[in-house]
């Protein structure tokens, strides 16, 4: 049974030899980006975090109304995905104690990276899944969104295909998962497993109908690179 599941999701539902739930949904994250905007300003799609910061500056310089992305301040599950990728432990178990390390060096590295972009006013900092945020995605004021595949909207038009980044992740981003417990009840992710929230929340499920069909063919996905 174990081999039938993506390894990290299986680890989320087991403790020692005991299995407590069946993994159901998962949220590995990728870079959703507007291919047309990068082309328009002749900016290469980034393949490193450093290049992403450079592209943020270039995009905003090319058009002061365009930002590479939004930093959603009240979306800690998203931030945790970035820390997870960077290898930062928020909690570990030390004997019979919890070791708390929310501000571990990797967390701080992730925080410094985004703080720099915020301080230089190269990214937006509005709440995600709010009207203004949807508008920014639709109008092209925001050119990328680092998120999980549940954001995949339906559509019909064809356009160019993107080759995913050549500098692949070794420890990719992940934003969450949900699991079926033996009762058959689908459990709120972090209550059951401590997993970040995004993929099974009801508001996220409303996304496909809200990402506009006008963006059909404009968005491509790549893996998110390591630092």
């Amino acid at each position: 049974m174990k081999d039938q599941f993506v390894p990290w999701t299986w680890k989320q539902v087991t403790l020692g030899n005991a299995v407590y739930a069946i993994p159901q949904d998962s949220g590995p994250m990728g870079l959703f980006y507007r291919e047309d905007i990068f082309k328009k300003y002749n900016i290469s799609v980034p393949t490193t975090w450093a290049q992403y910061a450079d592209a943020a500056a270039k995009l905003h310089a090319a058009d002061p109304n365009v930002y590479i992305t939004d930093f959603p301040p009240r979306q800690p599950g998203w931030f945790t995905g970035l820390v997870w990728q960077a290898g930062g432990p928020l909690f570990t178990i030390s004997g019979q104690s919890w070791k708390v390390s929310i501000n571990n060096p990797q967390s701080q590295q992730v925080a410094s990276y985004w703080q720099d972009l915020i301080s230089r006013k190269l990214i937006k900092t509005e709440p995600d899944f709010a009207n203004a945020w949807f508008h920014d995605l639709q109008s092209g004021a925001v050119a990328t969104w680092i998120t999980a595949p549940v954001a995949s909207p339906p559509g019909s038009r064809e356009s160019g295909v993107l080759v995913p980044s050549s500098k692949m992740l070794r420890r990719p981003l992940v934003s969450g998962a949900s699991h079926l417990c033996p009762s058959g009840r689908r459990v709120k992710p972090f209550m059951a497993t401590g997993v970040a929230l995004r993929t099974s929340s009801s508001r996220l499920r409303s996304i496909p109908s809200r990402l506009p069909s006008s963006l059909s063919g404009s968005i491509a996905i790549s893996r998110v690179w390591m630092r």
């Binding site: 949904d25 009240r74 996905i221 893996r223």
Partner: protein, 98 residues
């Protein structure tokens, strides 16, 4: 196997189904499921959640909401949440080290 797609499955055979891993017209026929499938295979399996994620997430949200309007920094926020988490766990009766 799958008839609709609002999930990204954890079940490996489902990841290979055409609906999940086939080309998607909206994305210019990119097979975006393949990107996420590759990603899934490399996620660090040992990430450990703590016993008070709801408190941690609430506190991070509060701190970051201040940081983005210039009240402190994200880094300051993490330091504050480190402290608030230790305090919270101790109040709950957990044994805590840092």
């Amino acid at each position: 196997m799958i008839k609709g797609n609002n999930l990204y499955p954890a079940y490996q055979p489902a990841l290979n189904s055409p609906l999940v891993s086939g080309p998607q017209a909206f994305f210019g026929n990119q097979a975006i499921g393949q990107v996420f499938k590759d990603t899934s295979a490399h996620v660090n399996v040992n990430f450990q959640w703590g016993p008070s994620m709801e408190q941690v997430y609430n506190d991070i949200g509060d701190q970051f909401a201040n940081a983005v309007i210039g009240r402190g920094t994200l880094s300051d926020g993490l330091n504050a949440v480190q402290q608030s988490t230790v305090t919270y766990l101790q109040k709950q009766g957990f044994s805590v080290t840092t």
